[in-house]
């Protein structure tokens, strides 16, 4: 949780980096909301389920990743190839 990370300031660092990634996605032309960060502890199972469902619904709303060849096997999904 914020201020109570097992890795001390780890989740605070991650939060800033996620904001950077979201800005980068926006510059690229993808929806920044494809990446979100939530703070959870290992004892918050019900919240984890709720957040997972929320994120799944968010992705359904945004649609499939337009950059991905959805018919390609996973090993061929490297961008630009």
């Amino acid at each position: 949780m914020p201020g109570d990370c097992h890795y001390l300031e780890g989740n605070a660092n991650a939060k800033r980096r996620i904001e950077h990634i979201r800005a980068l996605l926006g510059q690229i032309g993808l929806e920044p909301d494809r990446v979100r960060m939530y703070n959870l502890s290992s004892a918050m199972a019900s919240q984890f389920v709720a957040i997972t469902q929320e994120m799944a619904e968010n992705i359904r709303t945004l649609g499939k990743n337009p950059l991905r060849n959805h018919n390609a096997p996973i090993s061929k999904l490297e961008s630009g190839k």
Binding site: L24, Q27, I28, G29, L30, L67, S79, G80
Partner: protein, 227 residues
Amino acid sequence: MIVAEQKPLSEIKTLIGSAEKVLVVGCGTCVTVCFAGGAREAAIVAASLRMSTKLDGNGKQVSDVTVQRQCEWEYLDQIGDQLKEVDVVLSLGCGIGVQAIAERFPDTWVVPGLNTAFLGLPTEQGVWDERCAACGDCILGLTGGICPIARCSKSLLNGPCGGSENGHCEINPEVPCAWQLIYDRLSKMGKLEVLMDIQPPKNWRTARDGGPRKIVREDLRLPAEEE
């Protein structure tokens, strides 16, 4: 170090224009340690360009390579063959790196991916501050090791001016007054008498005002080939 920051992706795409094959060239020196144009940033910019141009409907072939220093021929020569295979080179070096590529490879179209900002140092993680203006006639020996040329907004030689307030500059309350810093340091070191000498106007011919600068060291030059 030379401190730079990346241009927005939209500007980079405009600079690349209609080129199909793009090579992003990172630099392993100054811009690596200021996180603007090293190998990691070159890979991120290349991936961003691949994704963004694909979304635009005109996916480009974008690859990346990083050399130890873009400002020396011997390192650039190592990627000479790669440069010939692309339509445009996006240099993530400083302005020197961009020009070095243009000069060494006259047939290569090269554009800048960075804005070269200043000569400075990281004062804390993620923060860089200007320290040197490369004026060509260093006066740090007169000012306790604090440069009024780079750090005083007016580059005063006999400061501070009336805009110094509570140790800060009138242009921005977050900018320390260089002359306050100089006074405090000299005072702490018991060398305030240094400030009793009035400095005459500076000879700016060694700075940019004298046009492009050049240093020739005869002791280091290779002997001219005899005909």
